[in-house]
């Protein structure tokens, strides 16, 4: 049993140990395996293959397990570390200690958006990205995407509204579910209904690889998803009688069988069910 802390409460030593463990995973090649896995689980509404990770009810349990795997890998390097969370409703400044030289480094520079500060700057020689998508190997960020089409971080009100929804998820259990806590937090923009929200919007706000399918290229990915995982806890506490939905895969042979993971349907790649991931209290807690 260990604790996941708010990143703003980490001591200098805790930050250093976490960064060192991440860099060790990167050096060993293990880190990039996580990036590739996330990219491979980029599956859309219209594809006919298993889709447990995004645009679906199992968004929360899938990412809970994914984070746990990452945390186990970190702890194999240094048993004292865990994945802190970034509460972006509170730490909203581009000069937050999160983005300081001794932690994740700051925004990308003007022009090419390259991150030039902190342990993940390309010039350190310790962090190169490819996204598996482009030929550019330095980490980039573009906070708020200034210029045309800027993005702001979601607010505490945005999160509160999602937490108020008493239903976990609703039909059709995908990116156009207009009601339900899951898609209110996952945050898919729905044509003519609402714009990008909460979780998705934070990916957009950071920019660079965080805005794409290989988003774990930026270590802030883990801190973002640690907070998303905490929000699932908060929702469960707020609605103790509400169940994970849907209870089971639809009986019909339609496309939704490929993406609906009911409470007892094993999710790839680990073949673990959402039910097994509902309660993490024996493994970690949030402070």
């Amino acid at each position: 049993m260990y604790t996941r802390k708010n990143q703003r409460d980490l001591t200098r030593t805790e930050k250093r140990r976490l960064v060192d463990a991440i860099l060790k995973l990167k050096r060993s090649g293990r880190y990039d395996e996580f990036v590739v896995m996330h990219r491979e689980y980029y599956v859309m509404d219209t594809e006919n293959r298993p889709r447990p990770a995004h645009m679906t009810s199992s968004f929360f349990p899938w990412h809970r397990r994914y984070l746990l795997e990452f945390e186990r890998a970190l702890q194999a390097v240094d048993p004292g570390v865990s994945v802190p969370y970034w509460d972006w409703t509170k730490d909203r400044s581009t000069t937050s200690s999160l983005w300081a030289e001794d932690f994740l480094g700051g925004n990308g520079r003007a022009g090419d958006r390259r991150v030039t500060t902190g342990p993940f700057a390309y010039a350190t020689g310790n962090w190169s990205v490819g996204r598996g998508v482009t030929d550019q190997n330095w980490l980039t960020r573009n906070f708020g995407r200034p210029g045309n089409n800027p993005v702001s971080l979601p607010t505490a009100d945005d999160v509160a509204r999602a937490l108020k929804d008493p239903v976990y998820d609703t039909e059709p259990w995908n990116s156009i579910s207009t009601e339900g806590f899951r898609n209110r937090i996952e945050g898919w923009g729905i044509h003519r209904v609402r714009t990008v929200g909460n979780h998705n919007r934070v990916h957009q706000w950071v920019g660079g690889p965080m805005a794409g399918a290989a988003s774990p290229e930026d270590p802030v990915f883990w801190l973002h998803h640690s907070f998303i995982d905490l929000l699932w806890d908060r929702w469960r506490k707020a609605h103790p009688k509400a169940a994970y939905l849907p209870g089971r895969k639809p009986a019909s042979p339609g496309r939704d069988r490929a993406y609906v993971f009911g409470l007892d349907d094993p999710m790839p790649p680990w073949n673990v069910t959402p039910r097994k991931l509902l309660d993490h209290s024996k493994i970690y807690r949030y402070a």
């Binding site: 509404d45 609703t170 923009g189 639809p250």
Partner: protein, 136 residues
Amino acid sequence: MPQLTRRRALGATATVVTGLVLTGFARTAGASSEPRTADPKHNAEHKGHAGHAGHEGPQPFSETYRGRRIEGAPSHGDGHHGGYAVQIDGEELHVMQNADSTWVSVINHYETFATPRAVARAAVIELQGSELVPLT
């Protein structure tokens, strides 16, 4: 919401041969705001067709945008790319279509766009001149 999508579906039926696809979307979308007792079987049948965007066909395009060649055309592949292929300077940009018929790409994964051309343009802006690498 159901009203809007139905209106869109009707418009599409009148102009394109693929009323079935969009009607499928409309029923699917409608179910989400109707009582939660909506018949899932009914939705599933229609969603079965939703992936073959090639039938529905956003038009092909080819243009130079901010110095990059962007092209898009319906494809008859395995449906993995939503039945529509987009390239930037000759390299494929992985794009796919969502249930509300909007589009995303591997570069802009967390937001949706109305057309493949809009997805391609957004990717050009995001790429900042870097090249796409071939998908493996």
